[in-house]
Point group: C2
Chain length 347, copies 2
């Protein structure tokens, strides 16, 4: 293991650049004052950070998964606009004492997730620029760029009464994983993935389920392809702060009421129940409530929510979870749901 | 004064958004999952961070000037590609205990500098997105976007033997200001600027000169318009790490030798000599050497260096400082100059 302080900046950059993949849209890549790329469409742009001790702790830190998560939270925002990702700029503040192998793992995670999005959506997603600075705290600040045809952007404000509400991917799993991490659960999630031969990992059923929830917190895997299949949506949003909050944003921006059906959430509650039982023991009613809370209010799985005129059969990857009505706010089986969600700065 | 933790995220965002200016290129601005903007040209993108205790300290912190500097270092990189700025994405990690007025001053500084670049280059430069997170350390991570016509980008690699080397703006002043700050000099630079009536500030001549050097460190003012007048350049670079380093990058990328003439630097050395004398006292030879060191190796003024077939009269704002020859590396009056410059990670 070699620390960044022993290598010096130019060698660190050299090692990182070896992880870069180019793309046919790149005219001038990393290494000049700025990158130049060809975008034959309107430009989509978004920026999202991960900050040490706010979004993750050194105790749980898995460098490769941190890279996956940083890329995923940005790529999700591009894809739910209905756009194709175009490239990433990665700014990284990182301690001098970091091992270069860990930094490389971080970049490998970013590159792998960008590559996965590219495969799912049929495009190339290179890292086209960024910055690297030493710092006492780890901060990963990514800007994701995308391309979209004229007037094709899917915003939060187009939902209409009578639309059905659809969900792609999962919700609640990352929040369950976070509570498991706070409770000090084993987080060697590498054991949760099947090995190269496809052999199932050597863990008990429950351990495996819990490890997979933690893995969703550490390295969410948004269903980018599903966003690409929802071109008919009247509104779409990335569930980063929780279903209640993000659906509340759609309701508010569109001037509608979003009614969720509890029965439609059961498939999402069941997989996180073992974690709630693990944390609460014999309190069965409490466990059910905790699990429902994760599903309603937990972000970071980067599930996608969309509204659309009802489908007979929704696009692959999407399930119906409710409908838009006249009014405002969000309700569960008719009971109002608070839409406050996660807030930085303590309120 | 109200702390961010007392306001909560949504009110903080509301206050910040009040500083945003839109632009005619903005189709969907801040407030959705991502921004959508129209770029009728190739896209230029670059990202640069300022990190607390690495790029500035809490002691010197002037929030408005920090915003100016964060914007300037990014806009410079866009402009030296020969591009017009298109917009900024601002990701900000900031302590909970920060006063909202300070955060607003930071955004006002960013908006003011983006506005200045827009006026100089005849374009609009809105903030189109970003992220805000609480953090133990302040990190300002900006991505600047620009637009440029096909094949119009000015890279580092086009310099040819026989080209003259030109400089726009200043070099060495920010480095002198930094050494003054480290030495504990007075940094109430607000007194260095004329007041609204144009009355000269009430400071002695030397104090004023020193305060202005510190102001260049805290809030550099790149000559964006000059970059716009250098369309004929064979190569151009933003001097962010020092003339020796950045000219070394051009020489290396272009496969040429860059010869600087000491006599051409005297106009740049003279204004920083008072700072060197202030720091070194009676050591006149030492002061001259320190001043030359700042000019040769100091970054952060964001002066621009360009190479071009020699002009009879260079474009307004540009001065000749040397010439490109066959060979490699950088020399001063024929003596090789090390091109190592500033390095993160200690080497």
């Amino acid at each position: 293991m070699t620390r960044l302080s022993e290598l010096g900046e130019s060698h660190v950059l050299e090692r990182i650049l070896s992880h870069y993949r180019s793309g046919s849209q790149v005219i001038i890549g990393p290494g000049d004052d700025a990158a130049v790329t060809a975008v034959d469409a309107d430009l989509v742009s978004t920026a999202d950070m991960l900050v040490e001790n706010e979004d993750f702790t050194r105790t749980w830190l898995d460098w490769s998964r941190l890279g996956v998560k940083a890329a995923a939270q940005n790529l999700s925002d591009v894809c739910v606009m209905g756009a194709q990702p175009h490239g990433l700029l990665v700014s990284l503040a990182i301690p001098n004492s970091t091992d270069i192998e860990d930094l490389e793992a971080l970049f490998a995670g970013i590159v792998a997730e960008a590559g996965r999005a590219g495969v799912e959506l049929g495009c190339e997603v290179p890292i086209i620029g960024g910055d690297l600075s030493s710092s006492q705290l780890i901060v990963v600040a990514i800007t994701a760029l995308g391309a979209i045809g004229k007037d094709a952007a899917i915003t939060r404000s187009g939902a209409r009464p009578g639309d059905a509400i659809y969900l792609a991917g999962t919700i609640g799993r990352a929040a369950a994983g976070l509570d498991l991490l706070w409770a000090g659960a084993e987080h060697d999630t590498s054991r949760a993935a099947p090995d190269m031969s496809g052999t199932a990992p050597d863990m008990s059923g429950t351990d495996l389920e819990l490890a997979r929830l933690i893995d969703t917190q550490l390295a969410p895997q948004p269903d980018y392809a599903a966003a690409g299949r929802m071109r008919a949506a009247s509104a779409m949003i990335d569930v980063s702060d929780g279903l209640s909050t993000d659906l509340g944003r759609v309701a508010s921006a569109s001037g509608v009421h979003a009614r969720i059906d509890r029965a439609d959430l059961q498939d999402l509650i069941d997989p996180v129940l073992p974690a709630a039982r693990h944390l609460l023991g014999d309190d069965a009613a409490g466990a059910e409530e905790l699990a429902l809370g994760w599903v309603l209010n937990g972000g970071e799985d980067h599930g996608f929510v969309a509204s659309s005129a009802p489908f007979d059969t929704p696009p692959v990857g999407w399930r119906r979870i409710g409908e838009m009505r006249a009014g405002h706010g969000v309700s569960l089986d008719g009971e109002p749901v608070p839409t406050s969600g996660f807030s930085h700065f303590g309120k």
